[in-house]
């Protein structure tokens, strides 16, 4: 009986690790799409108005960093599920 409980506990730990990994991967999809949209539109803007490329790149960099914060939230959940 105790062996069975120990096995179940190990299985739960494994499932937790799998869930954390899956969650992290899924959380990175949205920001990936978001960064694609940000950079794609920034490149369109730079192609249309090359003289404003500096301004566009400033906004693009901040947009990328803000979008990446979403992935970092997924990363933090991964850390907490795996190590806390």
């Amino acid at each position: 009986m105790i062996d069975l409980l120990a096995q179940a506990d190990n299985a739960l730990d494994g499932l937790k690790a799998v869930g954390a990994g899956l969650g992290y991967g899924l959380a990175a999809i949205g920001p990936g799409v978001g960064i694609g949209l940000v950079v794609g539109n920034a490149i369109t803007a730079m192609a249309r108005q090359p003289e404003s490329a500096g301004m566009v790149r400033t906004t693009m960099f901040l947009g990328i960093a803000f979008t990446e914060a979403l992935a970092l939230i997924g990363f933090v959940v991964f850390i907490l599920l795996n190590f806390a």
């Binding site: 960064i35 940000v38 400033t58 960099f61 901040l62 990328i64 960093a65 990446e68 914060a69 970092l72």
Partner: protein
């Protein structure tokens, strides 16, 4: 007699010839981060002890390195072409997440690892530095890092 036209001469500046704003943005963010880090580390020491201090310091280092690497990558790619910029932005995102993951897993093997202060530091420092920088950039997109004047702040209060 055919006239040779220099294709490089154009009225429009090339993307690669323009200023590289990522560097100045990240320099400002790192300077502000370094200013605020001692206070954050002291709070970590008070709330979570020495392990919390070490984990917070590691988290701050990761975020600073993440910003610096992102800026360096985008600046380098921007000098090549816009296609390289697109590749660097998307590839860099995946690469930086992978590096962060490996760095945290490696750090977790060390005895001073404390997950909660590390997690809080990563989120708070990333978002805090970004919001702080955006406040300055939003004053004028053309001049990132421009400090809002006292007059601007007074006007804001009067409008409220």
């Amino acid at each position: 007699m055919s006239e040779k036209v220099d294709e490089r001469s154009t009225d429009f500046p090339q993307v690669s010839q323009l200023a590289e704003p990522e560097k100045s943005i990240v320099r400002d963010m790192l300077l502000r981060g370094l200013k605020i880090s001692p206070a954050w580390l002291a709070l970590s020491l008070v709330f979570w002890g020495v392990n919390g201090l070490a984990s917070s310091a590691y988290g701050l280092g990761l975020i600073f390195a993440n910003f610096a690497f992102a800026a360096a990558l985008l600046t380098w790619a921007g000098r090549i072409s816009v296609g390289a910029l697109m590749f660097a932005a998307l590839g860099g995102f995946v690469l930086r997440l992978a590096i962060l993951t490996v760095a945290v897993i490696a750090f977790s093997k060390i005895g001073v690892f404390a997950p909660i202060p590390l997690a809080i530091t990563i989120i708070v420092s990333h978002l805090g530095l970004l919001v702080w920088e955006t406040r300055y950039v939003s004053i004028s997109l053309a001049y990132p890092g421009l400090r809002p004047s006292q007059m601007t702040q007074r006007n804001r209060k009067e409008i409220k």
